[in-house]
Amino acid sequence: MIRWLLILLFGFSTSLFSAQSNDAKKRMLNMVGKLEKIPPYTCDVKINIDVKFIKIKERVGKMIYRSPDDIDYNIKGFAFLPKKEMGTTSTSLFKEDFIAIDMGKENEEQIIKVIPMDINSEIVTGQFWIDSADLIQKMILITKDKGSYTAEMSYNDTPFDLPSKISMSFDVKNQKMPALLTGDLEGYADEMEEDEVSKGTITITYSNHQF
């Protein structure tokens, strides 16, 4: 009797689990579908960097979006931009088959963990925080050899539910360059620890979208 009860319980929880996974996967596929529907557009961008050893004022310019894999920037002057991979990373997660696991809720946002089935995928795992309006509020991607990226989004009624602001955080290794190259003969470089890793953040604010 107890054995049957246990078998019943296991079967029920598995089916519940698989029902939940299917829901999560459906929701993720929904999100990807929305992304693919976005037409090419241009918009104004403001880029701010917060990295321990980089000092740069806000940069302004334009972003040209053609597809999730094809984003270009036209910035006045010099700018530090997120690596292309960060933009394409999230979409590459969904190119092949994947498992989506509902991790529960946090502050009314559903947390879905995505694990790609492709063993060669750059990404080991990704976690998404999605709100009730089906907007991704936050995502964390863990890659094989490029560390982890965290992106937090803000929205303000932009068409196609495009974020008005994205803050991307990632690991950055401290730069220590030879004094001969930099002309810094005051020994500042000695004060920095070799190979010290710190968190860097790039915040991009989007506005004035033209489709």
């Binding site: 910035i75 700018a79 931009l81 290794k173 730069q175 930099t182 810094d184 003969l185």
Partner: protein
């Protein structure tokens, strides 16, 4: 005094050695800029390869502003050598050639003659720095155009192209002040010897020696470093910080002015008293 300065300027303008400095700057600047034109990308990529691992870098790194910044570093050794060639010769060279005797037989105090020579030396230093600035920025604009300045000092600082001009102005002023210290030192040494080579070699030896000692960064020297004049030759770099350390710069200006005063006072004192035997 104006008369004496005009005479000294006339002598400097007529002397072929004067133009070595300008020619050398022309060649150094030209060579470096051409090298950067052809090989600059490779050199820069070595410097910023770590950055490229974490970011996508958008924009022109090599531009007139970067070249000007890099070439300002030549004031540590190269420009002082060129200045010494003229200022070190001011008294010792004339003593060796016998013309010092000629001008000291005229009704002018030795102090006046020394000051006129010193001012002329300073004007020469200023002229060299102006030429350096013009040559560097002018040729840089021609070859590379303008752009944001990326300073790889104390991390990475990016200065917008429209925020750079005033920084360079003050940086060159600071560099020029340092070169006036060099001119004062070489003139002081020039007043002690009767051959033209002595002040030139002596000044360069002092500059290189002090640079080596303090660059090695021995802890025992750390406390006296702010009072050694060679340590101020790179203070112009402070103008390219995000938050400019005004106090440090003010102290630097003061220290250098004191050195200029001391070197010239010693030079005048010695020159006024020395027996002219040549």
């Amino acid at each position: 005094m104006i008369r004496l300065i005009n005479i000294e300027l006339f002598k400097i303008v007529k002397r072929p050695r004067t133009y070595i400095g300008f020619l050398a700057i022309f060649l150094i600047v030209g060579a470096l800029q051409l090298a950067m034109y052809f090989e600059g990308e490779e050199l820069i990529s070595i410097a910023i390869q770590n950055l490229e691992n974490d970011f996508r870098l958008e924009g022109k790194i090599i531009n007139a502003n970067l070249l000007t910044y890099l070439l300002l570093n030549s004031i540590i050794i190269h420009i002082p050598i060129l200045i010494c060639l003229v200022t070190g010769d001011a008294i010792a060279g004339e003593a060796a050639s016998g013309t010092l005797r000629l001008i000291l037989q005229r009704p002018f105090k030795r102090t006046e003659i020394y000051i006129a020579k010193a001012i002329t030396g300073f004007l020469y230093a200023i002229a060299l720095m102006v030429f350096l600035a013009t040559m560097t920025y002018g040729l840089g604009m021609l070859l590379f155009g303008s752009g944001d300045l990326i300073v790889l000092r104390r991390g990475v600082t990016v200065i917008a192209s429209d925020d750079v001009s005033w920084r360079f102005f003050y940086a060159f002023c600071s560099g020029t002040l340092s070169m006036i210290v060099v001119a004062s030192l070489s003139m002081m040494i020039s007043s002690f010897v009767n051959n033209a080579i002595g002040p030139i070699v002596g000044t360069i030896a002092i500059l290189i020696g002090l640079n080596i000692i303090f660059t090695l960064g021995a802890p025992i020297f750390k406390d006296i470093l702010p009072y050694v004049f060679t340590s101020h030759f790179i203070k112009w770099q402070y103008f390219f910080d995000f938050d400019i350390d005004k106090l440090a710069l003010q102290q630097s200006v003061m220290v250098q002015f004191i050195y200029i005063l001391i070197f010239n006072l010693i030079g005048i004192w010695n020159f006024s008293r020395k027996d002219i035997l040549t």
